[in-house]
Subunit: 339 residues, 2 copies
């Protein structure tokens, strides 16, 4: 198993990327890790640490946030993203991890590594915390404008991710909507529901119907199917409310000596509470639908997030998810002319 | 000032509705309140309390959740919603409050009381808590499918609500989107942005551009403009995460004798924390765009929520918002043919 890591992507590159990689390399000596980026900077960040399972591949260019995401990887042929994805394509690694620009990474993955044949669009599928554990939210921003077929494919992709990568048996798939009844929602939801219902009846996915955002947060399903626009609204609202209420809870204990003592008394519980809100625990989100595992880590990733994104990449690469998608892609075809 | 209250709407009618009305009547002796519903049941709920400013109007029918929302008010001519809205229409009251079926109330308000001339669709505009205070979210479910013109009208309506009812000076209006740049989002957002930008440049609204959900929760704007589908996703996600994390915080203090003591030490702060999460504080949401004030209270409203919905109805009726909308409706026209 060999994971390729973009050493230059994200706000804290290369130092935190290198740090996270070294931490993962120590804990997983069975996994080879390849850091791609400006060799001098990467080696400087490594310092005295040179584990046997970490190698460095030089790439002189860096794709910046200001670069045009659609063309950056072509113009900067020696960028860490372009070099890393070409290595993935030619089999010099089993998965690619990057905290770089989402748009540039998605364009490059789509055009260099390519989508699985028959898959219309790659989707992002972050794992969100719920009151019952976790759920996959697919898509959450890669595709602002969706068709029925995209949503149907997301349902299968998310279901395969939940079962193959998260180990959830017979994952419950819900269509994110503003009411539970099939008659609820906009025209996209109205047209998608019967196609998912039919897939459920054929036993291809475990479709439980429409799910409201509130029920999804309660843990009402394992896979939340959304267009990239509304999935992103949901994801960012979760992050926003989590951060806001996390801050309020913190303030609760900082008011006086008395409340500070209270903080000490609930210390272990508070730690667990904070961990629940920590997006870095998961690491990143896979681009599902790409023919090889590509993991996008958050742009603000620190070492801990990168370490977890690497473990996630290992899990995705070890799973049979891509073979499963390829074997089932014919079932995901939708012949509907949309208005 | 006279507020008409649907005594039969919602899960806890008539007992909690009557209780909330009596509480409001005691605190606001200057406001007349008219309870509309099955007189016997309403009087039974009132018991010995017969304040001078509360009257009862008999209506023998009740619109149930299972009734068709589009036609229920016509079929049940003697329902509390139909009778109450007809009283509002003919000037026998200044505002109507109901915790009944959203769909039935919206249809009835639209067809009995009518929309303001030129307004394409009425919208729901709940006030949500943010890290900086509060924001108006418009729409959040009345209109699943929206056009550019609807969104543009929502921007004006929400802006007028924020200034006239909440007292926010020059409210900052943001278009809910998945990125801050004008180039972000789906085709609806791409087409709406320039129209709002132009309205901002003319000084008619204080348009600050696109706003991401996370920034909105931080308090980045005072009015969040959304189609009813994604606005509902945002609202229900806030409710879901709030309830989930509220529960986790509660658990934090229930683990042992030690943590229970901690709970006592932060008691006052905890109370304030819970209040922030309490949707009943606001009471309900106005149907903006209807020619008279109609307030929808949550279906699960207890007495406290109804009491607050009545105060909210008073504020809306006292404000100049409807005259302001009427005076500005010509500015909200959009001549775009949408794809």
């Amino acid at each position: 198993m060999r994971i390729i890591i973009d050493a230059m992507g994200g706000d804290n590159a290369p130092v935190e990327i290198v740090k996270g990689t070294l931490a993962a390399a120590t804990k997983r000596p069975d996994v080879e890790m390849v850091l791609v980026g400006r060799e001098e900077a990467v080696r400087a960040a490594m310092g005295q640490q040179t584990p046997a399972n970490v190698t460095v591949v030089n790439a002189t260019e860096v794709i910046e946030i200001c670069d045009d995401p659609a063309t950056a990887f072509k113009k900067k042929k020696d960028s860490s993203i372009t070099v890393g994805l070409n290595m993935l394509k030619t089999g010099e690694g089993d998965a690619f991890v990057s905290a770089g620009s989402t748009g540039a990474l998605l364009s490059a993955a789509t055009l260099v590594v390519k989508r699985i044949k028959g898959i219309r669009r790659a989707a992002m599928c972050p794992v969100i915390p719920t009151a019952a554990g976790q759920a996959v939210l697919i898509d959450c921003g890669a595709n602002a404008e969706c068709t029925v077929e995209y949503l149907v494919q997301f349902a299968y992709l998310g279901s395969f991710y939940a079962s193959h990568v998260l180990g959830i048996k017979n994952p419950r798939v819900g269509l994110l909507n503003i009411g539970a009844e099939p008659s609820k929602g906009d025209s996209l939801r109205l047209a998608t529901w019967p196609v998912l219902q039919a897939a459920g009846e054929r036993g291809e996915i475990n479709f439980i119907g429409n799910i409201e955002a509130k029920e999804a947060i309660k843990g009402g399903c394992d896979v939340i199917v959304a267009d990239g626009y509304s999935g992103n609204i949901m994801l960012k609202t979760i992050e926003g409310v989590g951060s806001y209420l996390g801050g309020e809870v913190k303030k609760l204990f900082l008011q006086s000596a008395k409340t500070k003592i209270a903080g000490l008394l609930v210390q272990s519980g508070l730690k667990a509470f904070k961990a629940q809100l920590d997006p870095d625990r998961v690491g990143g989100t896979a681009f599902l639908g790409i023919s090889k595992p590509v993991i996008k880590a958050h742009g603000s990733s620190g070492a801990y997030a990168i370490e977890n994104a690497i473990y996630q990449a290992v899990r995705v690469a070890e799973s049979a998810i891509i073979a499963e998608i390829e074997a089932n892609v014919d079932k995901m075809k939708v012949e509907i002319t949309q208005s």
